[in-house]
């Protein structure tokens, strides 16, 4: 069925004429192609074509082919039969019944088919006429190409960084055995503290004022008071301090022993 030469011929020289049509049935791409070729012979816009005349031409074409004993493929005959039917629909009054398309509608459909096929042939020719790569236009013969480099982008958040450092420090701390110092203020500490102050207290001052600056922590404060009191007694016994208490449970006062300075 495919006959490239016939196509090329027609592309160059337009449609083949008369007898050539009849004998060269194999040059056609099916009945629609024949119809289109015949339609072109009416030399009018396809939208204005006479479908009746076209049907007649086609039927005559097939009749000639058969008379010449050419083998006519079944689809050409089916088209002939359908065109004969279309012709009758166009010529006779429309039978009632909404389901069937009218003869005019069938004709319009055929016209659309022909126009579309013709349009496709037109754009096919335009498509093939485009400058083609490696035939009409050329890309760069030796493109260097664009190498793809994989660039790692490291991701870490500040939170991760801080957490890592925190865990590191914690790990280190956990690894060191640390003996927690006793929470009580020791006698030794109180003694040391008082001894540093000896000689600088000419006037009587409350023993409480010699306590280290302790906030809250009742137990520690009480241990400090006890330790400092015991230390003051120890230092009074050593002759370095004087103690005075005016009444029972009253505040204890302390001063440097005169002459010790």
């Amino acid at each position: 069925m495919i006959n490239a030469m016939a196509f090329e011929d027609r592309e160059r020289g337009g449609a083949p004429e008369g007898d050539q049509l009849v004998v060269d049935l194999d040059g056609y791409e099916g009945p629609l192609d024949v119809l289109l070729t015949l339609a072109r012979e009416q030399k009018v816009d396809l939208t204005k074509i006479s479908i009746l005349a076209l049907a007649d031409q086609y039927l005559a074409f097939i009749a000639t082919a058969r008379r010449l004993q050419l083998e006519v493929a079944a689809d050409y005959l089916v088209m002939a039969a359908w065109l004969a039917y279309l012709k009758s629909r166009l010529l006779l009054p429309e039978p009632p019944g909404p389901d069937q398309p009218t003869g005019d509608e069938l004709a319009a459909m055929l016209t659309h088919q022909l126009r579309r096929l013709e349009a496709m042939r037109g754009v096919a020719a335009r498509l093939m006429a485009l400058p083609r790569l490696d035939r009409d236009v050329f890309g760069r013969g030796a493109p260097e190409g664009l190498p793809r480099r994989l660039v790692p982008r490291y991701e870490a958040t500040l939170l991760e960084l801080l957490r890592a450092y925190g865990e590191l420090r914690q790990r280190k701390e956990n690894a060191v055995l640390r003996i927690v110092p006793p929470e009580l203020y020791s006698m030794e500490e109180a003694l040391e503290r008082l001894q540093r102050m000896v000689g600088r207290v000419p006037e009587w001052r409350s023993l409480i004022s010699f306590l280290p600056p302790i906030l809250g922590r009742g137990l520690i404060e009480r241990s400090a008071i006890a330790a400092t009191f015991a230390a003051s007694l120890e230092m009074a016994r050593a002759g370095k301090l004087e103690l005075r208490q005016d009444r029972s449970f009253g505040p204890v006062f302390v001063r440097s022993k005169p002459g010790v300075i």
């Binding site: 629609l32 689809d75 754009v123 498509l127 009409d136 236009v137």
Partner: protein, 226 residues
């Protein structure tokens, strides 16, 4: 092209732009495939106006032996089309397509995605599987999906290789497609038209229908296996 910015080493505003142009030029020359503006823009983190730079480059190369063209969704350099005959560089002798092949290619290009039955409806004749095979071999068409109708037939469309070969920007860049759309010869309801035609017009004879069904099964096997 008349300007020869020989010494583009310092980065004052003007030569900065010249340097950007140089880089785009080099990129497009070096790349084997067309590059779109977005890909090019990746090289300019500081946000150069890549489309404007490309447009400038395109202007500079207009009328030269090599032109900057937009093909298959990207920019690429091509020898000027008018030099085709003088270059005599035919690298690939493209397989000569039959008339059926050319028409089928055009129908696929203009009506994609399109089923084989629809192609036959338009051409009024059966499409031999050989025709589709040859077109597949060119790499210009490929199965692109299935029509959600009974039988779920394979639909065909064109490829990037098709766009590259014919120098088309994209599938809407086909010659004459707008007129065809406007006149209803392409687009709108190709399916409806084809189906209506199949019901009312004798374009698909019984024998052809059988052959088509068989071929389509084969095509389906192919696409399924690919």
């Amino acid at each position: 092209m008349s300007s020869s910015d020989g010494e583009i080493t310092d980065v004052s505003g003007a030569s900065d732009r010249a340097q950007q142009l140089r880089l785009i030029e080099a990129l497009l020359f070096a790349s084997a495939a067309p590059l779109d503006a977005a890909t090019i823009a990746e090289r300019f983190p500081d946000g150069a106006d890549v489309p404007a730079l490309i447009a400038e480059l395109e202007r500079e190369y207009r009328g030269r032996g090599v032109n900057l063209v937009f093909v298959a969704g990207g920019w690429t350099f091509r020898t000027a089309a008018d030099l085709a005959d003088k270059l005599g560089l035919e690298k690939v002798v493209p397989r000569r397509l039959s008339r059926a092949g050319i028409e089928t290619l055009a129908i696929i290009a203009y009506h994609q995605p399109v089923t084989r039955a629809e192609i036959e409806g338009i051409r009024g004749v059966a499409v031999s599987s050989g025709t589709l095979d040859v077109l597949m071999e060119t790499g210009w068409i490929a199965p692109v999906g299935r029509r959600e109708t009974p039988g779920r037939p394979v639909t065909w469309g064109t490829t990037d290789a098709f766009l590259l070969h014919f120098g088309l920007a994209d599938r809407r860049d086909l010659p004459g497609i707008e007129e065809l759309r406007a006149t209803g010869l392409v687009g709108l309801h190709p399916l409806t038209v084809a189906e209506t035609a199949a019901q009312t017009l004798p374009f698909a004879p019984a024998a052809a229908v059988e052959e088509r069904d068989r071929d389509e099964e084969e095509a389906e096997d192919d696409s399924g296996g690919a």
